[in-house]
Symmetry: C2
Subunit: 249 residues, 2 copies
């Protein structure tokens, strides 16, 4: 394989069963990309993605890489893929990567964005890209509660059980920004468990509605009990926002 | 009829055959509004709209009014209609209007916005709300050409023939704003002929691509010949943006 190509892509996850092709899962972003790139380059292409996204979750920025024998020009590849891909998946850039670059193994930090629509007037043009809560949130209270999630912790209570043994993850930062009609939550961590961002966000929403006390969060961390954390916020408000990579030689 | 209610609405026109219910036209915004409001208030409601929009055209702001015997609270009406209307039509405000207010007769000036996507990377989350041109435009040349449209003129060459005799309209202003990925054109006039904004925009796009000389525009105005003006830009980039009303006693 003479080249390792790194593509930055973005997608509207509404129609898809998530990023990753897992067993028999149909209609994934990965499947669409592999089918389209394989056909176009006339090779059997396997796509590696930096991050998974659940069904219905979007990406502002997802990083993928694949190996190819093709000597196609990078800009031509970008434009041809954008022509052949469905209009809800877009290739925003194409680069030549070191031959050992692996988007999943090299990613060391990720940021997810969750958009909550708080205006009493429902969203229109953004309606597929926000969670329409329709109520004001106490953002100062949410900011205070968000500190409880920072650091290396066992997030078992904040994930959907998948039988995974290691449920320790590190969250570096949670930034909460309030605008006129929205509250946007940016969560940055090293890696995330299944539904982890959406359960953290659901917990923070309950805090912002004064429907949850801080001590339940502390107890959830202590016991690992999922019933002590908040609801799973719906997928349409969630975006994979940014991926950060290690630099290897 | 004891009350005249003025509603500000916004809509995503993608799925609709335009605003106005005309003869047998099915699936119009007006029809959806009338059905929904009539059912909710249990009265036969006729909706009057300030401006028409063609099939596929959107509205940031459309003004409607209707007469009712109901004494419903304004905020309750807004919230209930937003609950029952399809999610691509939103009521942004509800006001009590003077009993003689008539949104079509009282509107004296309208602004339409046309969004052209010029980035070589296709639009993703905005894809239903822009015309995806995918090429840079010479905006200075478009600004210069836009001056030719200002004033009271016969716009026959810049409209789709409908048998209308009076084709004189006044354009007060055309503002063209270039951003990173888009060129946005705001056209303000007293009233517009069928397809007039889209043909003016199509003509300006051809100017911006250096595919049209200024003298063809001058000749189009002189002759009224539709073949001398530009293509009809597609509906998905067009928004009814603002309506201005006269103040009557």
């Amino acid at each position: 394989m003479k080249r390792n190509l790194k593509l930055t892509i973005a997608y509207d996850g509404t129609r898809y069963n998530g990023f990753q092709r897992l067993g028999d899962t149909k209609n994934t972003i990965q499947e669409k990309l592999e089918t389209c790139i394989s056909r176009f380059l006339n090779e059997d292409i396997k796509v590696i993605g930096a991050s998974r996204t659940d069904a219905g979750v979007h990406a502002f920025e997802q990083i993928i890489n694949f190996y190819t024998n093709s000597d196609i020009d990078l800009i031509e590849l970008r434009d041809k893929l954008n022509f052949y891909l469905p209009e809800d998946i877009v290739v925003t850039s194409v680069e030549e990567a070191p031959i050992n670059f692996h988007s999943r193994y090299w990613v060391v930090r990720k940021t997810y964005l969750y958009r909550i629509y708080t205006s009493p007037i429902p969203p229109l043009f953004e309606r597929n890209y926000v969670y329409n809560l329709g109520k004001k949130l106490d953002v100062d209270r949410m900011k205070a509660a968000s500190k409880l999630f920072i650091g290396e912790k066992n997030f078992q209570a904040f994930s959907k059980r998948t039988g995974k043994k290691d449920t320790v993850r590190t969250i570096y930062d949670i930034e909460i920004i309030e605008t006129d009609k929205e509250v946007n939550i940016y969560v940055t961590g090293n890696s995330f468990l299944y539904n982890m961002v959406r359960i953290i966000v659901g917990t923070l929403i309950e805090v912002g509605l004064h429907e949850r006390e801080f001590d339940t969060i502390i107890k959830a961390f202590e016991t690992g009990d999922r019933t002590l954390s908040g609801f799973t916020a719906p997928p349409e408000g969630l975006f994979l926002y940014k991926n950060y990579f290690t630099v290897k030689k």
